[in-house]
């Protein structure tokens, strides 16, 4: 009998040696004449345990990790193929406390299935959402998304159902569904994990969106820094075509939906939706003035849905289980779950999908276990390079769009970057301005010029030149950028600077002579 061994093909696991481990297991199995099939699944998201391998046994899937090639012979000696005990044994994967307490809806299959297999996807509940959607009126599908309370997971948190309704209400004609997979925020990797670990969930979500608003063509705009996700998506799209879930007759329902991946070229600004559309059209990724909204006049001037990967990948679950089931998770106006990413200087980093409402403290200490360096946490940046720095005194804040906005922060794409007490917050503020200067599209002055002036002013503060005056100047500059920029890059790049000034002023004052 052939034993199934799961070794993640996820880029993060590969970065820690999962590819070499998979090869070593196959070679050792051949040498011992053991019948083993290695499945390259996605990552469970417990990166502190990667490479985490699993064996399917009569007792379920048993985990071992973190495994290196040097451990492989020993694992065979310990009879891991039958769940034998080993120093790296983690027991049943589902029972690992870090995973067990999670509420995985969008990520329910990530790390579990073979991402290249439509059959495996369907066996684990895939395409039930699309099947239900195909039995519904378009307006009813859109209403379902509205009722679920789903908001854009890319960062802006705009209600997804309202966006879809706007596209649905446009006159019939060529419409598009575009997926913004330009996940450029530092500290975020949920889009990448999903695309590598369960790409068909995104494909199904986009297909449902197409059916709902009458769009026949979809584009995934993927950042160039994600070559592994590109391969996973292209493989899955071909498999979905082969199985007739894409193409001229989706699931035999007589509707067309085609899907194509387009690769970005290293411009952070293309995560902004109008800039992404410019880039998809083959131009410089310069931000468009709104209105008109993309839902009215988007890609190639046609009505277009622009949604993030996690938003679209949540759609199949909502259609399969019903809007109310999804809305039952969460708090206030933040309904459902959020795949949160614990990143940076954290002992147990990775992906935690939970209903909105748990606190930063639970995430940082219960899940994260504090810093990797063992020093106290001094600050966390939530929501990417445009997100505020939050001090330890505010760690009881709930992960909720409104609660974070209430303390002058933002949830964004759900990434949390942890810093220990060696961090120099004036330097981090400088970096925020520097990043904005590197990535500004240049269309509006506050962002293009303001970010460069911001670096210069902070450099003067760092050099101890006229500190008080320059701190005041920096505060005024931030205000100008927030008020005067065309889009969120210039408009929010000051947030980390302002929060650093507010909560960690001593790091600036220390330089004042």
């Amino acid at each position: 009998m052939t034993t199934l061994v799961y070794v993640p093909g996820d880029a993060g696991a590969l970065s820690l040696g999962a590819g070499e481990v998979a090869r070593a297991i196959a070679e050792e199995a051949a040498r011992r004449r053991a019948a083993v099939k290695v499945v390259r699944n996605g990552s469970r998201g417990a990166y502190w345990l990667e490479p985490l391998i699993e064996v399917l046994t009569p007792r379920g899937r048993l985990a071992y990790g973190p495994v290196t090639t040097a451990d492989v012979a020993g694992l065979f000696e310990a009879d891991f193929l039958n769940g034998g005990s080993h120093a790296l044994s983690l027991g049943a994967t589902e029972a690992i406390p870090w995973l067990k307490g999670q509420q995985r809806l969008t990520f329910e299959r990530v790390g579990i299935i073979d991402p290249t297999s439509v059959a495996d996807y369907v066996k684990h509940g895939g395409y039930q959402g699309l099947t239900r959607a195909l039995s519904m009126e378009p307006a009813a599908i859109v209403q379902e998304i509205t009722t679920s309370g789903l908001r854009g997971r890319g960062g802006a948190a705009f209600p997804t159902g309202i966006k879809w309704k706007t596209v649905l209400d446009q006159p019939a004609g060529q419409k598009y569904v575009t997926c913004n997979a330009d996940e450029g925020d530092s500290g975020t990797f949920s889009d990448r994990m999903l695309m590598e670990g369960d790409p068909l969930a995104l494909i199904e979500g986009m297909t449902i969106a197409g059916v709902a608003v009458g769009a026949t063509q979809g584009y995934i705009y993927l950042r160039a820094e994600y070559p592994h996700a590109l391969r996973a998506l292209r493989t899955a799209i071909a498999a979905a075509h082969q199985a007739r879930y894409l193409g001229s007759d989706v699931a035999g329902a007589g509707k067309r939906f085609d899907l194509e991946v387009r690769v970005g070229a290293g411009a952070y600004i293309c995560g902004e939706e109008t800039s992404m559309l410019e880039s998809l059209e083959g131009r410089r990724g310069e931000v468009r003035v709104r209105p008109p909204l993309p839902a009215v006049k988007g890609l190639f001037g046609q009505p277009t849905i622009v949604n993030n990967v996690v938003t679209l990948a949540s759609v199949p679950w909502i259609l399969q289980h019903g809007a109310q089931a999804y809305a039952n998770f969460g708090m206030g106006k933040s309904r459902g779950t959020l795949p949160i990413q614990l990143a940076g200087n954290i002992r147990r980093g990775g992906l935690v999908e939970r209903a909105f409402g748990l606190t930063l403290r639970e995430l940082l200490y219960d899940y994260g276990g504090g810093t990797a360096t063992g020093k106290p946490i001094r600050a966390v940046q939530v929501g990417g390079p445009l997100g505020a720095y939050i001090p330890a005194s505010q760690f009881d804040t709930a992960v909720d769009y409104e609660a974070l906005a209430g303390i002058g922060a933002m949830l964004g794409h759900g990434g949390i970057v942890v810093f220990d007490d060696s961090v120099d917050m004036a330097r981090m503020a400088r970096y925020a301005m520097e990043f904005c200067a590197i990535e500004s599209c240049g269309k509006c002055t506050p962002c293009r010029i303001g970010s460069t002036r911001g670096v210069e002013v902070i450099d003067r503060i760092l050099a101890g030149v006229d500190g008080e005056r320059n701190v005041r100047l920096l505060e005024e500059l931030c205000e100008t950028m927030v008020q005067g920029s065309l889009c969120g890059l210039g408009g929010m790049a000051p947030f980390p600077v302002q929060s650093a000034l507010r909560h960690f002023r001593e790091d600036f004052r220390g330089r004042v002579k």
Binding site: S186, G349, V417
Partner: protein, 159 residues
């Protein structure tokens, strides 16, 4: 302006002609040129402009807007070091200083022997395994200076 060897010129011509019928083809064309030649030569711009019926300024504007498109021939190996916040929290700056010393070049430079190009990159999506490095499309996590040296030791990353 540099001139392209006829073979490379033909490659550019063929790529642009093959892709010109696609919606919004310019980025696709530039990606294909860079995949074939390793960079987007200045002399490719007028060829692409002519085939796609765009102005040279438009093509030049797109090539120069995007960090990913190179305008000079890269080294045999491209080493990209993540410089974003998560990697900074785990010592990306010290690793970058080490890499500069080890390779003897700064960011955006290619070593005189043509073996390495060193580039900053802003997030590789490996933020729970910082600091992250990408070498020729391969991703590495939790990279210490010692591991970095091993990765570039033979001029080629280990498989």
């Amino acid at each position: 302006m540099e001139t392209l060897p006829p073979a490379e010129s033909a490659v550019v011509q063929r790529i642009a002609s093959d892709l010109k019928g696609r919606p919004g083809p310019l980025l696709e064309v530039l990606h294909a040129i860079q995949a074939a030649l390793g960079y987007v030569p200045g002399a490719a711009v007028p060829i692409v402009a002519e085939v796609l019926n765009l102005s040279r300024a438009e093509v030049h504007g797109v090539v120069t807007f995007y960090h990913y498109f190179r305008r000079s021939r890269p080294g045999a190996h491209t080493v990209s070091l993540c410089q974003a916040e998560a990697c900074q929290s785990m010592g990306a700056a010290a690793l970058a200083a080490h890499a500069r010393r080890r390779l003897g070049i700064d960011f955006h430079q290619t070593s005189p022997d043509g073996r390495f190009s060193l580039e900053p990159i802003y997030c590789l999506g490996n933020c729970a395994c910082s600091p992250a490095v990408m070498i020729d499309g391969r991703l590495y996590g939790r990279v210490t200076p010692e591991r970095f040296d091993a990765l570039v030791a033979d001029g080629a990353p280990s498989p």
